[in-house]
Every structure is written in structure tokens, then in C-alpha cells.
């Protein structure tokens, strides 16, 4: 029993080192809804990240090759990114190696109506929901 406890303590002691590169990235909101009247979402994205280890980190998105922002010797950060959105895209974090994505979050754009008018026809059922 004592051996098992000692082994468990050893494993837990090792975990922080193994998770040194672990990155938590959250983005809100994650869904943008468009239709023919509103083909573009004017969104303000709150991006929050946290790492287990201090270091050099950069936030990227699909809109530019250059990072949105970089942090030096930080283990957490946040920013607000205002932009017009038409298509699904991603935010991701990198460390010193810009090619290695530590965490990635996708923002989905959902087009709710269709150019095909038949998809909007009513079939006279009260339970006919959009």
C-alpha cells in the first residue's frame, strides 16, 4: 500500500514537468450566425490563454500571417479582438516555434438561410420549426 502511495506521489510530481507546454486557450463567442440580411458578423472576441509555464507565447488567427499579439515571460494573458467575420476561422497559440500550435480554437460561422427558397416553405404544421 505504501509502495502504491509512493508511486502515485512520484507520478504526480512528474506531471507538471510533462505538462510544461500545456496551454489552455478559450475564445468567446464561438458561434457567429449570418443570413441574407446580415451577411457579416461584427464580433468582439475575448481571447484568454493560460500556460503552466512562463515563456514567450504568441496568438495567431487565420486573418494574418503575423501574430495578433505576443507575450514575453508570461504564463497568462487576454485580449479583445474586434473584427468582421464572414467565414469560420481559428485562433491559436504558439511558443517560440511558430509552426507548433500549442492550442487552437475554431470560431464557427453558421449561415442560417439559403438561396434556395424552397427550404423556407411552410408545410402548415405547427411543429414545423426553423
Amino acid at each position: 500500500m505504501m509502495r502504491l502511495l509512493a508511486l502515485s506521489l512520484l507520478v504526480f510530481a512528474v506531471v507538471p514537468t510533462a505538462q510544461a507546454d500545456d496551454m489552455m486557450l478559450s475564445v468567446k463567442p464561438l458561434l457567429c450566425i449570418t443570413d441574407s440580411r446580415n451577411p457579416v458578423c461584427e464580433m468582439s472576441f475575448l481571447v484568454v490563454w493560460e500556460s503552466d509555464e512562463r515563456g514567450y507565447y504568441c496568438l495567431f488567427n487565420d486573418y494574418a500571417e503575423a501574430p495578433v499579439r505576443c507575450w514575453n515571460e508570461e504564463r497568462q494573458g487576454q485580449l479583445t479582438d474586434d473584427r468582421s467575420v464572414r467565414e469560420s476561422f481559428s485562433f491559436w497559440m504558439t511558443g517560440t516555434d511558430a509552426a507548433n500550435r500549442l492550442a487552437e480554437v475554431s470560431v464557427e460561422v453558421l449561415r442560417m438561410d439559403s438561396d434556395d427558397r424552397r427550404r423556407k416553405r411552410r408545410t402548415r404544421h405547427v411543429w414545423d420549426i426553423n
Binding site: L30, M112, R117, K120, R121, H125, W127, I129, N130
Partner: protein
Amino acid sequence: MTRATTWLAMLAFLAQPCLAAEAPVEATNSNWRLGAALGYGIRSNPLVQSDDIPIVVDLDIAWFGERWFFDNGDLGLTFADNDTLTASVIARVNSDRVFFGKTETRYVNLDLAGGPLAETVEFKPPDRDYAIELGVETLAGGRWGALQLSAFHDVSGTHGGYELYANYSFGWRRQRLYIEPSLGLSYKSADLNDYYWGVTPDEAGLVAFDYEADAGINWHARFMVGYQLDKRWAVSLVTEYERLNDEAAASPIVESDSVLGWFAGLSYRFGR
């Protein structure tokens, strides 16, 4: 019912090669619209001695090809589609029949006008058949809303009548929230109205007197609120009020001049 079944079988047979000739059919293909809603709702039944129609699960099964489409039981062939309108020939099942499947047999000592009977008698509202109807539907839409106009005629020899239908809806969206009120009316010919809501001399008796319904106009209002939870899940609330035409409402087998329906539930859209 035999005629109606024959028509359904014929339509299914005729549609088969056309559907096969259209775009590939896959659950993930955008031609499909597949969804399911789970919740609770009721559609009131205007007939005497009848139960309301409960709604617990709603399936949305539709397929839209370039010309052919299937939309929850309606089979259509689109012959015009331009910037102004979309027009299709459609075969469908008449919806008035749905109320007649929820009637009950009871022993009564009053007639349907409220007069006392000399003895207790068994009574059940008369049954009606489904009708297969063929018609033309025109859809138009834009920033001003959506308009649906249609004209359908019975082709199954069930009621021999026709219906003219118009519906206007306007959708308003604020990101995840969607609100859509709509308003419409339908003209039902004398043959259609009389078949479903009339009482023939053969059906009349001590409880129900014979009644012949003339043509009339139903009108309806509908209100829908939807909230998109994520890409596939949404919460929806729908309510609809339909006022029966005076000729139908005056029938001895009708106890309410309107139909009220509502449904609240969680819906899921496949393949998004």
C-alpha cells in the same frame, strides 16, 4: 383510402427514377435537411368527441435537388426559379384529415345541438379519408419577407375540391435569436369543405343532423422563436392559431371554431 394509397404509391414510383437521377444522396450532402426536435406541444382538435393531438417528437426530413424535392411528405418538381420567384408543381396529402383520426366513440344522451335524447345512444363523429392533392406553389422572398402562394386540387377523388393558400412571413435575427411571425389565409372550395366538415344524410341520425358546408376562408397566424445554442442544437417555441371558416365552424361535428397549436422543444440539425 384505397384511392389515396394508390396515388401515394404512384407518386413514389414516379419519383424514384427522378430522385436517382439527381445529385448524390448522402446524409452529409447539403441537398438534405435532416433534423429532429424533442419537446412537448399540442394541436387542439376542433371536432366534437375528439382528443387534442400531442406533439412530442418532430422529425424534419427534406431533400432538395435542382428540380425535384421532397419536403416532409410533399413531393415537388420545380419548373421556374429566378430572382423573383420559385414555382413548383407539388403533390401532397391534405392536412384536414388529421383531426378525424383522434375521435372517440361515446354513449350520449344529448344531441350535438344540446337537445335531450329519448334514450342513450352510441355516437362517433364520422371518419374521413386522406386526399392526395396536386397543385402549384409559388415562393417569393427578399428583405421584405417571404411570400408563399399555392393552389391545390384533389386528384384522388376523395373530396373533388380545391384550396387556395397564401402565407406571408417575416424573419428577424439578432445573432442566435430568431423571431418569425407569419400570417396567412386559405380558401377552401365547397366540395373540400363539405367533404371534411359536412354531415351526409347517411351519417346523420339522432345525435348529429345532416349539414352541407359551403366554401369558406380560414386564416392563420403563427409565431416562432428560436435560439441557436450551437451549430446543431437550438431551442424553439412555435405557436399557431387557425380560425376555421364559418361554414366549417357551423358544422354539428365541430365544437371549436379554431385550432390552436404550440410546441416547445430542443431541436437538432444533422449534417451541419
